[in-house]
Symmetry: C2
């Protein structure tokens, strides 16, 4: 098998951890696999570098910031290569640029255009391990670029595609994806597999185990991602296409996100273009709007309600107060103690009545639903934050996800 | 004027020092000069990186060590570029590879083959400052290489040649070259200029202000080096060709080196090839032999005496004991309390009797000369270490180098 391993900052965060990581790679080589590795910077290093730059100028040119922070991965890649050679595994470190990661010129948030990987494949075929810096590449002029925070997962998937790997192993400090947060529901169980689409829905809800971009990329090229722990030798969760034979349960998991606030602008004259007049300025302020509900118009007036990250609540309220006057709307209200709870699963495509069952479960617990939004494989409700645990518990149980006690 | 500035580790060793360094560059730009900059790693950084690698493996592959330590300069180059932009001076950091430094593949001690500098020249012509990492480049396969310790001076001179600069300013923590060590002779005075050849002789005697390689390179392409302090605004010492008009004094300066030991192998059968039989094994042991004296043969036997760095004294003695038995020589003796004192100056080419005057001065002080070696512009004697101060003092004075009191 040809395998890409990706290790995050904690897996290379100390010399001891680098040793343990090198052992995992050595073991995989011993199984006869061809291995390429993608590493993040040692944990804390990227922040250390950014702090130095910020002390000089908090608005440093993005090109220079990329040149600066890209050194973090270069250090960990070289140290891991040194340890691998020390164990007798021939290994060569490569910066993103050297590895052949070509990106556009959008510093700090570059997109990968392609990976020139012939030399990396040659290494792998020769039983050697290329150790590639994640999170970075270079543009057509040779300028160093970075992909943005968490870009290392995306680097790993892109590399897996480029070297035509069978699987991309992403090692992290969790051992897989669970049916829900085990801190809330002790009966939550680890999923053996999950589809790309489901993973995307989980990720967008704040389960930040995998970068969304990396999952999208893996989905497009159908590269399986094996999300697993770098501390435990056991299998984690395989993220792949849906078509794996087994009948699906109604839902795969229950997710939640407390990082939510809700704002409403009431009594707006209902005219074409009002959505643009509201959400234009909000987007300009770099505020991500999530769930949006527009009330049915009454007497030519309508209400618009939407959720934003809780951190942006104050800014959003201030912005809407201004718009309210401008648009001659009635008033602005808000609530920063709301949360989202979602049920997610490709199974709901073939099971009718899943949404209705969710509403029943919540109604039985006397939980008031404030907003609803649905996609093909997800139903999300916004509710008072204090109900999160209760909602997650009862949904997990009602949909038959509680692990059986042994 | 087109100028290359080179700043060592202390000049970028802290954010405060980086600010001061950026100011020096800004001032030079304000004079209408075109400026390119070469920087070392922040002081201590290279050692920190090496220590991490050594903790894993003290014999780490040279390729990986180069990839690792090259990040040190990349950090300081980016930080200096950020500070320059902050001051309103447009600046762009470049790694050695990006800057176009092409080297051979001898990791840790690569030789520069050429510098592709068109893009750097374009920056300079546009009033922008390229900030280039010293000490590094890349080979024909794109592997990162380093030039060896102190290689940043060589990078700076190579860049000055490549961009056709008028002068290479090397900023350091001393303000120039002195007629001798001011700690021994308070009357020592700063030289306004010194020839490349003289600088090479000074450098080889342990006055480690400039890398020998950088001076050799500057000499070959006739690029003046202005060695000056990054703390003082005044002119330092200009290192350049000899042909600068003024009549030369007999000598330019007096240098010394205490880091010496002397060994003698006595009563060797005087046959062709004995030098090779002695110095072959010594060279194989990586010991640098300096002054060599072979006695006139007597009864078919001869003695061979030479100096080595004091650190290598024990190893050299052990090695010679073995050879003594092998070669059926009489015995081995040694002394690790010797030192070298030299008078240096291109003026001695046109002044006869300079060596003789030196011997007279030392004789008058009752200093016994143990070995003598001469070159066209240098006379070196080996003497007991305890005489160093006396010898340097009296030579400095006798050759008229003592600064006049005002």
């Amino acid at each position: 098998m040809r395998v890409v391993h990706k290790y995050g900052g904690t897996s290379v965060g100390s010399l001891d951890r680098i040793r343990a990581t090198a052992k995992l790679i050595q073991e995989d080589m011993a199984r006869g696999n061809e291995v390429a590795v993608v590493v993040s910077a040692m944990s804390g290093e990227t922040n250390r570098l950014i702090a130095m730059a910020n002390e000089i100028d908090s608005k440093a040119p993005a090109r220079e910031m990329d040149a600066l922070v890209s050194t973090g991965e270069q250090v960990s890649a070289a140290l891991l290569a040194i340890e691998l050679n020390h164990l007798g595994v021939p290994a060569y470190s490569y910066s993103g640029s050297q590895a052949g990661f070509r990106t556009d010129s959008s510093h700090a948030r570059a997109r990968i255009k392609g990976v020139e990987s012939e030399h990396l494949i040659r290494h792998m075929q020769a039983g050697e391990v290329p150790v590639v810096t994640g999170f970075q590449g270079s543009d057509e002029h040779g300028n160093i670029t970075t992909l943005g925070r968490g870009g290392s997962d995306t680097s790993a998937v892109a590399l897996a595609i480029a070297v035509n790997a069978d699987v991309c192993n992403i090692y992290t400090d969790v051992n897989g994806i669970y049916t829900t947060d085990p801190r809330i529901v002790p009966q939550a169980s680890k999923l053996q597999e999950i589809s790309y689409e489901e993973m995307l829905e989980f990720a967008s809800l704040g389960a930040k185990v995998l970068q969304t971009r990396s999952v999208e990329l893996a989905m497009r090229f159908n590269i399986p991602i094996h999300l697993r722990s770098s501390f435990e030798g056991v299998a984690g969760t395989m993220v792949n296409g849906e078509d794996t034979g087994m009948e699906r349960a109604e839902i795969t998991g229950v997710a939640y996100n407390r990082d939510e606030a809700k704002v409403t602008i009431k009594g707006i004259p209902d005219q074409p273009g009002i959505a643009a007049r509201i959400f234009g300025p909000v987007a300009d302020a770099d505020i991500n709007v999530d769930v949006i509900v527009q009330n049915v118009s009454e007497h030519g007036l309508t209400d618009m309600t939407f959720t934003v990250p809780r951190n942006d609540y104050a800014a959003t309220m201030a912005l809407l107060e201004g718009l309210c006057t401008q648009m001659k709307a009635e008033k602005v209200t808000g609530d920063d103690t709301v949360a989202k709870v979602s049920i997610i699963g490709v199974g709901m495509r073939s099971h009718a009545g899943v949404a209705r069952k969710m509403f029943d479960v919540l109604a039985n617990e006397n939980i008031n639903i404030q907003m609803i939004t649905t996609s093909e494989i997800k139903v999300t409700v916004v509710l008072e934050e204090k109900y999160v645990e209760l909602a997650v518990h009862s949904l997990h149980s009602a949909f038959g996800l509680d692990a059986e006690e042994e």
